[in-house]
Symmetry: C2
Subunit: 202 residues, 2 copies
DNA sequence: ATATAAACGAAACGATCCGTTCCGATACAG
DNA sequence: CTGTATCGGAACGGATCGTTTCGTTTATAT
């Protein structure tokens, strides 16, 4: 098993072009650091130390911390989540929410996303990236789930955007307050509320 | 002989108890600093400088930056927001949401709240303060609105907590992505969704 | 009247991180 | 061979953190 956690021996220039090894080492170190200590323990200094890279190398390729976070998240997106299709919106939401919360809990992705949201409150560029790139991406994926439900007449087509907003806000609230325990009853109740299913039905 | 004709430049102890002048000066300085520079330019150092206070005085009364932010926000909110009671949940929500978004837009409170949430992503103590102190306070106020609705049989009593969570998440999402324009139609649609009112009804 | 206790602001501390700027070494491109 | 852009290392000036020390101030307890 390859050890990707520690720095390699001195890694020098490979000429007048970007060194992919350095880039990979930096992204890996950033990911590991976020996984271990979250946003609080995340600094360019520490990433450079772990990656065996110089700070100038990092600043050369990522102008801001947000840019680095974005690339780390993009690399992480390799393990992306599949959309469920259970035949009913409320059970789709139940399955997706439990998978999403687990994904946020069990990978660095939760910390990365929290870091991005926090960074967006400080940096205008990070806010733009969050609002105009991440949010539309997530909405685009999830929208299909709601569109299928509208096709089945479970919800009105005109409600799709608003229900999506409610659902995203629900997930953000739990992420940002660190309440991602697998609280199945609460998730199920909320899934039913959003899907317009009466309690107790199946 | 004490000089009561004009304020001394230096503000000293008034005995073995908290000096209200110092507290007021610190809260005022923090509020002004957040209004001027937002979370990015907010530091304890600068608050102390502006307030003419010592850092130990701040740290003596506010263990973390989050505790200070919470007090600034609380002082701000008490004077600006009242709970509506229109007789129907959806119109209560409509009125409250428009007032809240305006409050966030037109006072430093939006910046303060954003700062608090961001701080909670970097500091465990701030997260606890937000989740265990601040949020319950906010929920307690809003809960009355939903309890009245349950008394009128507009919603089920068992749904109150979950609907509250959806409503809070909706507001957070818009605050954190800086989408607080007075989008009356969107607010109205979401208020109806949460209150379980069909579109177009009154 | 006096001593105690706690608050006050100022100043300095060690530490961390920021973003930048040097430097010598490296290796491809022309 | 020369030029150029990269690499990591080191150090910088600056900011902020949270803490500690110090002398001063004033209400309260004795």
């Amino acid at each position: 098993m390859p050890d990707t956690s520690h720095a390699d021996r001195r890694r020098s220039s490979i000429g007048a072009r970007r060194n992919p090894d350095a880039e990979a080492a930096i992204l890996t170190a950033a990911r590991a650091l976020l996984a271990e200590r979250g946003y609080a323990g995340f600094s360019i200094e520490e990433v450079a130390r772990r990656a065996g890279a110089g700070k100038p190398t990092i600043y050369r390729w990522w102008a801001t911390k947000a840019d680095l976070l974005i690339d780390v998240y993009a690399a992480e997106k390799a393990s992306h989540m599949a959309l469920p299709d259970t035949g009913a919106l409320w059970s789709d939401l139940l399955a997706y929410t439990r998978a999403l919360w687990g994904f946020w809990r069990d990978t660095p992705s939760g910390s990365i996303f929290r870091a991005l949201i926090a960074e967006a409150q400080t940096t205008e560029a990070a806010l733009s990236a969050l609002r105009d790139k991440f949010l539309p991406d997530r909405l685009r994926d999830l929208r299909h789930m709601f569109e299928r439900a509208a096709d089945r007449s479970e919800i009105r087509a005109s409600e799709i955007d608003d229900l999506l907003g409610l659902y995203i806000g629900f997930n953000w609230l739990h992420l940002l307050t660190d309440r991602l325990a697998d609280d199945a009853p609460a998730i199920e109740r909320t899934a039913r509320l959003i899907a317009g299913q009466p309690p107790g039905g199946s």
